[in-house]
Amino acid sequence: MNSPFFFVAVVAGLGLAGLLFWALRGASQREGHEHGLGALDKAPRDLNNMPQIRQSMDPADFEFAKAKGGRYLENRLRRERRNVALLYLAAIRRDFEHSLRVARVIAVLSPEVLGSHEYERIRLAMIFRWRFQMTKARLLIGIIPQPQLLTVWQMAASIAMQMEETMAKLGERAALAAELALQSEQ
């Protein structure tokens, strides 16, 4: 056995053991899909505050603060509103993750799952998380990207609404099926 393979194999073995504990810890901490179904009932709450966030980042506001209270007031306002924008970005992410969780529940409860769809979703979610961190970093260094934040919000809200519509349809179908079953029993 050559040395590179030995070291790669040892690292892989240790990595597998680490992954085993990590995956097991997650499996024991997370609630099962039956509890996860509760997530379907919880509509995202954070996506309804976008108008206020947009207002808080209006350049006219900063100009007004600068004219009335000077540069100190403008800087303070900018800093505080940037913090609010960061909090809101985090809320958008939470809502986005909620939508992803719903998608996972749908996948678990489906008799047929396509690998390509699942792979694509995992890949996109990873890219989203990476870019989200980059966006957050830009906000942290002082850039307030109002139009882009609005776009992020629209996308997250769109997914959430679509999910809600589909879950409502599923609920209707389930109710209809239950009713038909009841009728056939009678």
């Binding site: 992954l19 085993l20 039956e34 489906s110 830009r138 882009q148 992020v152």
Partner: protein, 262 residues
């Protein structure tokens, strides 16, 4: 048998006693119905011990015959453990037909890649070839178990405590044996004694874990899930993926565009 160090004999004896106790418990609580392949694996372990005792008493610990027959029985035990791992995988994910079908394909592919690469890159020395094969099978089982738990974590699939403990034991045992075999292959003579200690001690620890997992009868079982119609997934998931793609594109534009300060 007298050639073997006392500590090795003690761990063997302990492992045999724990295996017998576990089997007895499984029979008493009728758990063998739930885990038939796992029960077979435990029986295979006991049979290996019986063969080992006979073998080392008849041929001694360092003879060629002892080596050959000992490793042949080991092959059966590892294969039996592989089946037990597959059984646990099915017990955890089997209820979810779609996820199970996906997981099975991915896990078989990953396991096969690991198995083939270990055989390919491992030592081809005649005497150590059997260790390489053992190592590749252990790597295959470990990959399966870790992959299974990753799937369960990702899809938030509920895992019963007994299944969790058994899978943890199978995964840990395979990882330990894999690392043990790797070090053994590299430092054959110097490591032989330690290899035996580590192997036996790991098995005893895992048996304790399994005994703990089987301490009580099953009080409740996870209900069979009611699956959605197939078209729900096919209509919804591509749309979600499309939205995610658009969102990523927006984020990408966001990153590339120089934002103007208000």
């Amino acid at each position: 048998m007298s050639q073997l160090p006392t500590l090795i004999l003690i761990t063997w004896g302990l492992a045999t006693a724990l295996t017998l106790f576990l089997l007895f418990r499984m029979l008493l609580l009728a758990r063998y119905r739930t885990y038939p392949l796992f029960t077979l694996y435990l029986i295979a372990n006991l049979l290996q011990t019986v063969v080992g005792i006979y073998l080392y008493q008849s041929y001694g610990f360092t003879t060629v015959n002892g080596y050959r027959i000992g490793w042949t029985t080991q092959a059966f035990v590892v294969v039996a453990r592989g089946f037990a791992a597959a059984e646990i995988c099915y017990r955890i994910l089997g209820r979810y037909k779609g996820v199970w079908a996906l997981a099975m394909r991915i896990l078989i592919a990953c396991g096969a890649i690991v198995l083939i690469s270990t055989v390919y890159f491992g030592t081809r020395n005649y005497r150590l070839a059997v260790i390489t094969l053992d190592m590749s099978l252990e790597a295959f089982i470990a990959t399966w178990i870790v992959g299974l738990l990753l799937f369960a974590r990702y899809y938030a699939v509920p895992v019963e405590p007994a299944n969790r403990m058994i899978s943890l034991g199978l995964g840990l045992l395979s990882c330990c044996k894999l690392l043990n075999d790797l070090v053994f292959e590299r430092h054959v003579q110097a490591y032989l004694g330690t290899w035996n200690y580590v192997s036996s001690a790991a098995f005893v620890c895992v048996l304790l874990l399994w005994n703990w997992a089987m301490r009580e009868p099953v009080t409740h079982t996870v209900r069979e899930p009611q699956l959605n119609p197939a078209q729900v997934y096919h209509s919804l998931i591509p749309q979600v993926n499309q939205r995610l793609l658009e969102l990523n594109q927006q984020l990408s534009q966001f990153w590339n565009t120089e934002s103007s300060k208000p």
